[in-house]
């Protein structure tokens, strides 16, 4: 980010542009992780509530209860970060930008704040009275759904802000106050859909990760005993001093529950992430059509390398998921579908390797154009034609979609044919769930970084510049399109 290095002189804000950027980045990313989990997990609670009301499955009840309890801690922390974010970081460090921007997105912020009132009321009411409300299941479900709707709007309003920063309706007019246009700006729809699914996928990943850990904990003792039969192993702390028979029963119960919970939650992540592939693609397309410079940064600028990281993460996420399917089905004693899943895993891996090729071996495409190296490596350049997004990476994405759908179908079908006995999972499969959670978290962070840096040198595209938060009267001159390579 060359322009940032030029701006080391202190601006009208405490700190430098760099430290402030890093600050805003860290706090925003942290806040996002909390907020999205809350929204997504509420959807999962609603689904589980419905299922447990239909078939009285105690596992769904336990899961819903567990998630609701997690809210109390996470909402408090997340909200504290958000307040810190707005008051200290945004107002303190980016005051000019924030005040200007808030003025013309006033009502959006206003409604955003209102949804917080609703969230606080509903969330704590549910948390504090979850068991008591067990007698009024319908009311409890209604409140959960209401909470989720409220949270959805919360996300929607923030999306209006975020998409407005990326693709302002009328370029160079930060004071555009047509709210309809603000709401319906070009990237709002793809962003909203992307996040609606992303929230649930992320919440699923968090739950799967937790379940993975808990399963490992529940089965730690027997594994240690299997490794060294004659040593005495302390029982898990939570299980305390229990007679041995009870201990085994407790172990079985815990293992069965967490095995089930991990699988149930990871399915949300896996399924929705398949959809995210092409939702993400449409999002990028909309950015390309309406904020070409940002798109250019993402695909050809220095962040293209981070984008490649996202690409790698996606492949890893799918591989972790399919590997889990494979291990789990194998443990359930179904060799045929297991072999198919193994095949899917291999294909995924090959696709992943192919997709990892960088299209050029340098920081950014403009760099190599400047150095006259924008030609294939066999012509003395640094380009690798097979690494370009179009059409190769598109093909890889389509391939990944097909293979993951196939794997998903195989897994679900195998599970349908011979019901799976929970609690038999191998410990390795649970480590894969943990990996899935970690990868998802990394991808969330990467996406945040890409989104926030793709707008530079602007804070709000074409209207407010990052450097000293300069507010432009007119759109900055575009680099003439004809002077640079344009992708499809």
């Amino acid at each position: 980010m060359p322009h940032l290095f030029l701006a080391l002189t202190p601006g009208p804000v405490p700190g430098t542009v760099i430290t402030n950027t890093v600050m805003v980045g860290c706090v925003a990313l942290l806040h996002v992780l909390f907020a999205t989990y809350l929204i997504g997990s509420t959807s999962i609670v609603a689904v589980s509530e419905v299922v447990s009301m239909v078939n009285h499955d105690p596992r769904h009840e336990r899961l819903a209860r567990g998630i609701v309890h997690s809210w109390a801690y996470l909402f408090g922390t997340g909200a504290a970060i958000a307040i810190f974010f707005v008051i200290f970081v945004l107002v303190g460090m980016w005051g000019r930008f924030f005040v200007t921007f808030s003025q013309f997105t006033f009502w959006v912020w206003f409604f955003e704040a209102l949804t917080f009132v609703g969230e606080i009321v509903l969330l704590y009411a549910l948390y504090a009275n979850w068991d008591r409300l067990g007698e009024y299941r319908m009311a409890r479900l209604g409140m959960t759904i209401l909470l989720n709707v409220d949270q959805w709007f919360q996300m929607f309003f923030i999306d209006v802000i975020a998409s407005q920063m990326l693709t302002p309706v009328v370029q160079g007019k930060p004071d555009n106050t047509s709210y309809l246009l603000q709401f319906l700006n070009p990237t709002n729809l793809p962003l909203t859909i992307h996040r609606t699914f992303g929230n649930v996928a992320w919440a699923g990943a968090v739950i799967a990760l937790t379940a993975g850990f808990r399963y490992l904990r529940a089965t730690r003792r027997e594994e240690a005993m299997a490794l060294a039969p004659n040593t005495h192993v302390e029982p898990v702390r939570a299980l305390g001093a229990m007679p041995d028979g009870e201990l085994v029963r407790e172990r079985n119960r815990e293992a069965a529950y967490w095995d089930w919970a991990g699988q149930y939650a990871m399915l949300f992540t896996f399924v929705l992430t398949i959809f995210q592939i092409w939702v993400g693609y449409t999002y990028a397309k909309e950015i390309q059509l309406h904020s070409l410079d940002s798109w250019y940064q993402m695909m050809y600028g220095w962040i293209s390398n981070i984008f490649l990281g996202q690409f790698a993460g996606l492949g890893l996420l799918f591989m972790a998921g399919v590997a889990y399917f494979w291990r789990r089905i194998k443990a359930a004693g179904q060799p045929r579908p297991a072999r198919r899943l193994q095949l899917a895993l291999i294909v995924l891996f090959l696709l992943w390797l192919f997709g990892l090729q960088p299209a050029w071996w340098a920081g950014s495409y403009p760099d190599i154009v400047a150095a006259h190296l924008a030609k294939p490596f066999w012509d003395g350049g640094v380009e690798d034609p097979l690494g370009f997004f179009f059409p190769w990476k598109v093909m890889v994405l389509i391939g990944e979609m097909l293979v993951t759908l196939f794997a998903l179908g195989t897994f679900l079908r195998a599970r349908q044919r011979t019901p799976m006995i929970m609690g038999q999972a191998s410990r390795g499969s649970q480590r894969l769930l943990i990996a899935l959670g970690v990868i998802t978290c990394l991808m969330m962070l990467i996406m945040g970084i890409i989104r926030e840096s793709s707008r530079s040198p602007y804070l709000v595209n074409y209207s407010i510049q990052i450097n000293h938060q300069v507010i432009l009267q007119k759109p900055a001159p575009n680099i003439p399109l004809t002077q640079r390579p344009i992708g499809p």
């Binding site: 059509l289 003439p480 399109l481 004809t482 344009i486 992708g487 499809p488």
Partner: protein, 167 residues
Amino acid sequence: MSERRITRRQFMVRGTGLLGGLITAMVSVPAIGFLLSPLWATTPLLWADVQGGPIDDIPEDKPTARIASIQTETNPPQPPVSRVVYVVKHQGQLYAFSNICTHMQCDVHWDASLDLFECPCHGGLYSITGRNVGGPPPQPLPQWVHRTQVRGGRTYLQVANRLREEI
């Protein structure tokens, strides 16, 4: 009695099949020929003047839309229709673009703020020389088959009823 090679019944079965085939062939030969006839129909080359007077005054690097009344199809005969001819002068070259997008043939127009031809349908972009530089179009913007005529010291443009590049 000579030995019959086919029975009466067999004769009728086969005969019905044969005659049925004949009926089918009878109607399908003209049908298929008629159906396929556009494939080998040839349209004569018909020239039309580009309206709006001579093209001398069209400035360099400023694509200008003119109209020509072109009889694109003659099978069956139909009156000429107005078509757009984008007259472009760029680096000493003269281009006579149609405004037919090579993606799905929507109506391309010159967007001065982008400095590009833009297609309203799916956002296709073409440079001033017709190169497809963005969006879905798979090929450059086609030109009409064209020629210039100098009459009374002024240059006039004529276009034919077909495109130079097949799209």
